[in-house]
């Protein structure tokens, strides 16, 4: 009798879990996703609002979060004497199609024929599998559509509350403002493991992006930038990879770009110090951003037609 009762209660418990508990957890998660999505302010919209006040733009910065954190249109404007705007967005909006549509949309709101410099800084050639993942997302969905994964996990919400949802701010140049919304907590133990994808995949991807940028900004010189990362104490000789990638990149470029000298690939050096890194190995903090931007200007010196002035430190620039 007791055994029968135990069995019965087990069956009831199992039935309760299947019929009530599991669906309840799923519904609760769906509600959490809705709240998470409602609090999310798409980065693309920040730029679309800024565009109203921009006026003429001579140079544009594109790319993912490495460029959001690590490149400054304001510094570039100061160094080069022409107006730059930082149009980079985290994760490049998740797919090339979506990011290209965003750039096309943006270009209709400025005089794209007057854009003279385009910098595209992407980490994808350094991330194994990311180019394929990036290309595989061919969905036409709007960035506001509900995703099945939240921006921040439930566990992180429980640990940190809603403070992480403070929206990041951009200044009038489109640069990230390093304020309380940016939590730079990078530690030595979480430095990057250097890796490099097969050159052919990277070259295909980069040449395709060059073709796209030249079609949208026909009078601009295109700078393809492979950004800095922080490798900690690891010694990593990637010169062979970079040389092969450089050779293949120029080899695959159509003749017209080579003769007009409008396209260049730039490999930025690794961050020399952890003091220049923000919250992951490819996100610079404010000093790291100045260092990367300064290095970019030096690499672009033959392209830039203006007289450039490069102060030795971010403090000197701020003065």
């Amino acid at each position: 009798m007791a055994l029968e009762l135990t069995m019965l209660s087990m069956v009831n418990a199992n039935r309760f879990i299947r019929v009530s508990a599991i669906p309840l957890v799923i519904v609760a998660y769906a509600v959490f996703l809705l709240i998470d999505n409602a609090n999310d302010f798409p980065p693309a919209e920040i730029h679309m609002q800024s565009i109203k006040n921009i006026g003429r733009v001579d140079g544009l910065l594109f790319g993912g979060s490495n460029a959001v954190y690590g490149l400054s249109a304001e510094s570039l404007s100061y160094f080069t004497g022409v107006r730059w705007y930082n149009l980079s967005v985290t994760n490049e909006l998740g797919s090339p199609k979506r990011y290209k549509n965003f750039i096309k949309d943006f270009s209709t709101r400025i005089d794209r024929m007057k854009v003279r410099y385009v910098v595209y800084s992407s980490l994808l050639p350094y991330e194994i599998g990311m180019i394929a993942a990036f290309k595989s997302d061919n969905s036409e969905k709007n960035i506001k559509d509900l995703e099945i994964k939240p921006n921040i996990s439930v566990l992180q919400y429980i640990r940190h509350g809603w403070q992480q949802k403070i929206p990041q701010r951009r200044n009038s140049y489109g640069d990230l403002v390093f304020d309380e919304s940016v939590n730079c907590d990078f530690s030595e133990k979480s430095h990057a493991e250097p890796q490099a994808v097969r050159e052919d995949s990277a070259v295909d991807f980069l040449v395709d992006m060059v073709a796209f940028f030249t079609s949208v900004f026909p009078y601009a010189s295109i700078q393809i930038v492979l950004p800095s990362e922080y490798y900690g104490g690891l010694s990593f000789d990637d010169s062979k990879y970079k040389q092969t990638l450089r050779t293949k990149f120029y080899g695959f470029l159509p003749e017209k770009y080579l003769t007009s000298n409008t396209v260049k690939i730039i490999f930025q050096p690794p961050f020399p110090s952890i003091a220049q890194v923000c919250n992951t190995h490819f996100h610079a903090n404010e000093d790291g951003r100045f260092w990367r931007t300064r290095n970019l200007v030096e690499s672009m010196s033959d392209t830039l037609q203006q007289q450039i002035s490069i102060p030795s430190s971010s403090a000197a620039w701020r003065r």
Binding site: A13, N14, I17, R18, A21, I22, V25, I26, Y29, I128, G129, M130, I131, A132, A133, S136, E147, K149, P150, N151, I152, S153, V154, L155, Q156, I158, K189, S190, H191, A192, E193, V197, R198, S201, L234
Partner: protein, 106 residues
């Protein structure tokens, strides 16, 4: 037949060709692996730990009534399913699991 199963499993271990080649290269890094593991995100470390716990539990508790003659079916018990579902939903975020094949995850 046996060779076909082995090759098939190897091929379907990855959805991305570049990453598949990286895996099939079987590069041995020695103790560098500890540095690589330390560099992983907390979510990845937790996922790895969970995988190890699943397998170790099968071995350690093989004579326990919930595991005995139930190869991996322990994880189909409703209460365990509920716990696994809650763990999965608690740690899922936009930055986790790009497009890894199910076999790759296993």
């Amino acid at each position: 037949m046996i060779l076909g199963v082995v090759i098939g499993r190897a091929l379907f271990a990855e959805s991305d060709f570049d990453r598949l080649l990286e895996k099939l290269w079987f590069q041995y890094d020695g103790f560098v692996v500890s540095t690589k593991l330390a560099a992983l995100t907390n979510t990845s470390k937790f996922a790895l730990l969970l995988g190890v716990v699943f397998i170790v539990a099968e071995v350690v508790f093989q004579k326990c009534k919930y595991f005995n003659r139930r190869n991996y079916k322990f994880y189909r018990i409703p209460i365990i399913q509920l716990i696994l579902l809650m763990i999965t939903l608690a740690v899922a975020s936009d930055g986790s699991g790009v497009d890894y094949a199910v076999y790759g995850q296993r």
